[in-house]
């Protein structure tokens, strides 16, 4: 009676255990690692810029070129959890005088006349189970660019951070790495000085920022 398995079966068995299993595991781990950490999957970077209605609004022009303060449009950033997306009236404050006949701004004027808000597209969409408050971060020395990047250089805004929870915790565990004086909050090109940790610890003291044990309490962000 012929054998069911020939001699090669032993080699196949050894190969599958010592080569097959590690290779499959490696592939699975790599795919998972890429999927959870890749900027491409997480929509981060210039390739994932979020185009706005009308197609032409440029932060580079308004912030970089015209040197407008962030708070002119995002006017509740210091007092509210939401930084605020400007209403059409805010746009028309300038554009009733400036470029008031430009065809590019037709949709803004239509919105103003018809009293229908422009549906701006969200760039940073936080999950609903996260409580985030802009005002406390601004008040305690976290500048816009720490999270949003150098907006003044972006014609169309994109995310510079994937908003991982570990990224939030990096700062909540050691805020001194990122704190800046109040005068620098809205500076979009701020870079930490050489003695940032020293300065940061001093600022942490001045701002009265709590210790990391309290800052990393679950209910600080998940309420």
């Amino acid at each position: 009676m012929a054998q069911v398995f020939n001699r090669r079966a032993n080699t196949i068995a050894r190969l599958s255990i010592f080569v097959g299993v590690p290779v499959v595991l490696l592939i699975l781990i790599s795919v998972w690692w890429y999927y959870t950490r890749s900027d491409w999957v997480r929509d981060v970077g210039p390739a994932h810029a979020v185009v706005q209605p009308g197609g032409g609004f440029s932060h580079q022009l308004h912030v970089g070129g015209l040197k407008m303060d962030c708070r002119y449009c995002h006017n509740s950033v210091e007092v509210s959890s939401s930084a605020n997306i400007p209403s059409t009236e805010t746009c028309m404050g300038c554009h009733s005088q400036v470029l008031h006949e430009s065809p590019k701004l037709e949709f803004v004027r239509n919105s103003y006349v018809n009293e229908e808000p422009i549906q701006w597209n969200k760039v940073h969409d936080l999950p609903k189970f996260v409580y985030f408050n802009h005002s406390i971060h601004v008040a305690k020395g976290v500048g816009c660019s720490s999270c949003h990047g150098n907006i003044a250089s972006m014609p169309v805004v994109y995310k510079t951070q994937a908003l991982y929870m570990s990224w939030c915790l990096d700062c909540h565990r050691a805020p001194e790495q990122f704190l800046r004086p109040q005068s620098e909050i809205f500076n979009t090109t701020w870079t930490p000085p050489a003695d940032q940790i020293e300065q940061g610890l001093k600022l942490k003291e001045e701002y009265g920022i709590r210790d990391s044990l309290q800052l990393t309490n679950c209910s600080i962000c998940h309420r």
Binding site: V4, F5, M165
Partner: protein, 467 residues
Amino acid sequence: MQTSQKINQPVVEKLDELLAPGQTYASVSAKIGDIVLYPVLKTPWGWIGGIAIAGLLLMLYLYSLATLFTVGIGIWGINVPVAWGFDIINFVWWIGIGHAGTLISAILLLFRQDWRTSINRAAEAMTIFAVACAGIYPLVHTGRPWLDYWFLPYPSTLGMWPQFRSPLEWDVFAISTYATVSVLFWFVGLIPDLATLRDRAQHPVAKFFYGALSLGWRGAAKHWQRYEVASLILAGLSTPLVLSVHSIISFDFAVSQLPGWHVTVFPPYFVAGAVYCGFAMVILLMIPIRKLFGLEGLITLKHFDVMSKVMLASGLIVTYGYFGEIFYAWYSASIYEYFLIVNRTVGPYAWSYWALIIFNVLIPQLLWFKRFRTNLPILLVISVAINIGMWFERWVIIVLSLHRDFLPSSWDVYNPSFYDWATFIGSFGLFFVLFFLFIRLLPMITIFEVRDLVHKTAHKAHDQKGH
């Protein structure tokens, strides 16, 4: 086949025998192997009927789980003070049942108890299937089982590890270790028997199936030597698991501060309870299987007698635990502990406490008498009673402690919903479908160990003749 017919003849059963007389190496291999190697079309009707009923229950189980995944845990009867209901009761009950298999396969192997040989394979299979049934409950009771990998400590983008100080996290490790070691131990023990089946099989598909699973076993001396070492190592790994798994599950309760849970006796009391209902389940499974497949020659009354003694001993430890709980409540001088005992005995769920005492404490006292230990119909009834009793024990611990919180304003009652019952009854479907597949596809008795027992028995008889 002549030999197996000879065994099928009615024999006068003697109590002190682990094997009926007249067994030979060939008869053992034929008897056990033929159950598996029957042609598909000659499958016994009892088996087909059994798996059909179990399959229907499995459909009920899948239906209730599918509803759970699409609707959420709101379909269950749980509410705010009673946030753990059937899910955790059934989890603890099923995992407890598994413990008898591990005890039989590991501890009794280390203690060289020969009576384990005929029952250890089926008991280990029971362990694995019971752990599977148990493990599903905590996985689905999260409500979002597709996120259950969050239980595992892996380098995630959350920047957080699971809460290692929580007994619920210890459960993850306890149960996954238990499942892994049990499956490995079971499979390693199967290899020599799978090779026997490969050699006896006629059909090419069966040859391939058993041949692939037997991993090239040729029965060489080196194979046996490595096999003995491997099974001793696995027995050594399994032995602490018999104690640790249910101890850790008892910590889920004992580490909290709820009256009725915060008790130091919990770990040993849980382990004894697990062994208790596990052995009851082994007996419950073995009595019909022995009848259905004519295995009276291999699973004898002696086996049932010994298992009943283990049940009686573990049952007395559990009984001690019940008295202990009453004593601690009085000795603690805490009004909450005191209230708990009053509430258990005369409160709205008093019927369940007294059912527990009747099923777990009173009925098993019959096991003191050899008459009942070797009377299989009565033993079957006692085993069912113990399984019901141990289920009520978890019910009493979980529901009765939760439904009366410290604050009377949060008191409530717990009524299991249709889906609670469907998930519970359906889990028997999963268990029995797996068990029926097991007895059809794998040798339910360890062939080579029984052959070894034939050898030893023959030598003993030889010695007694005065040589």
